[in-house]
């Protein structure tokens, strides 16, 4: 005989979810089934143990801890603002300096007589047929590759990524929850 339907009914009985007829049927089964009777007794004892258990008390400084964490999350401290502004300032100086240098490098590339001449030819031809547009695209690619071959470009990219990483770290440090401490707790 499968026991599960009966053990399931024991759980409902503990929650006062059975009517009299169902209780009578269950009791009749328990009287002749030692396995279900064993589970029933254990379930009842566990039920009593859990009903006796009381609420655990939070530590005395609990509410103050919530208030402190709430304040930290909802406002930026002057230190964080200062650090953020300093990063922005340094980043700005860097971008302006290196960006200007980059533009000069680009100017040097464009001043190359061969490339400029090719550009002009391509531009003229592009007015006549579609292939010229493809040539023009190739020329842009050639120019881009020339720029990417310059160490300054990669230095620029690396520093940009480093600044982005620094900024993300800064934002994450602002939102990181504070460590909590527990002095004592009273249970049961």
């Amino acid at each position: 005989m499968p026991h599960e339907p009966f053990t399931e009914k024991i759980s409902l009985w503990l929650d006062d979810e059975l009517d009299k007829a169902e209780i009578a049927e269950l009791q009749s089964h328990l009287a002749q089934c030692p396995s279900c009777q064993r589970i029933h007794q254990a379930m009842r004892r566990v039920d009593q143990l859990l009903h006796r258990a009381t609420m655990a008390n939070p530590p005395a400084q609990f509410a103050a801890g919530v208030e402190s964490r709430l304040a930290r999350r909802t406002s930026l401290k002057p230190g964080h603002i200062g650090l953020g502004l300093a990063t922005l300032l340094l980043g700005g100086i860097f971008f302006i300096t290196v960006g200007t240098m980059g533009l000069f490098s680009l100017g040097t590339v464009l001043l190359d007589a061969g490339i400029v001449s090719n550009c002009l030819v391509a531009l003229t031809d592009s007015l006549n047929n579609l292939w010229s547009y493809i040539n023009l695209g190739g020329l842009f690619l050639e120019t881009s590759l020339l720029i990417m071959r310059q160490p300054l470009f990669w230095g620029y990219m690396i520093v940009t990524l480093a600044l982005a990483w620094l900024w993300i770290r800064l934002i994450r440090s602002i939102h990181r929850p504070a460590p909590v401490t527990v002095d004592t707790m009273i249970l049961m």
């Binding site: 566990v46 859990l50 655990a56 509410a63 004592t184």
Partner: protein, 197 residues
Amino acid sequence: MTVATEKPTVTPEMQAQEQSWARAARQGDQAAFMNIVEAYQRPVYNLCYRMLGNPQEAEDAAQETFLRAYTKLRSYNPNRKFSSWLFSIASHYCIDRLRRRRKQIISWDELPPYRSVADSDPQPEQVTLKHEARDDVRSLLDALPEDYRAATILRYWYEMSYEEIADTLDTTVSAIKSRLFRARKMMAEEAIQTEIV
């Protein structure tokens, strides 16, 4: 049937007061929100403690529950019972935390068992007996998967109905009946094996 003591009860007056605090907190009134924290710190902490079994983790989780409640206040539906909404945040957070804990490389089982400051002090016999009962409760809850544990805690410590537990855990009444039955069966088997009761 034995009725547990000190279970939280919410009167209609308290519910009206909570709604008023929630409305004010939604407008950015942190003092009103702190009233909610004061009113619910014990049940929320208890829920986290029973779920996680560790005072430090419980304190952190309960604090995080309140912070999440504060940021989600705008999505709170005033037609829903405030306590169910708050316990729902706490339960889901603790369930996620227990699942993450299982994935950690270092298992808690490999760590030495937690002993509070009070445990190391000499205790009168009555207090010691209470601590033994607490350990029994802990062992029984530890034997349960996260979802079953949450349903059991809400049933025994908060005396919630099947409907309220289902609402809190975002599931159906039949699922709760099933979880409670399976949880009781697992705890009964654990109790028989370890001779807890």
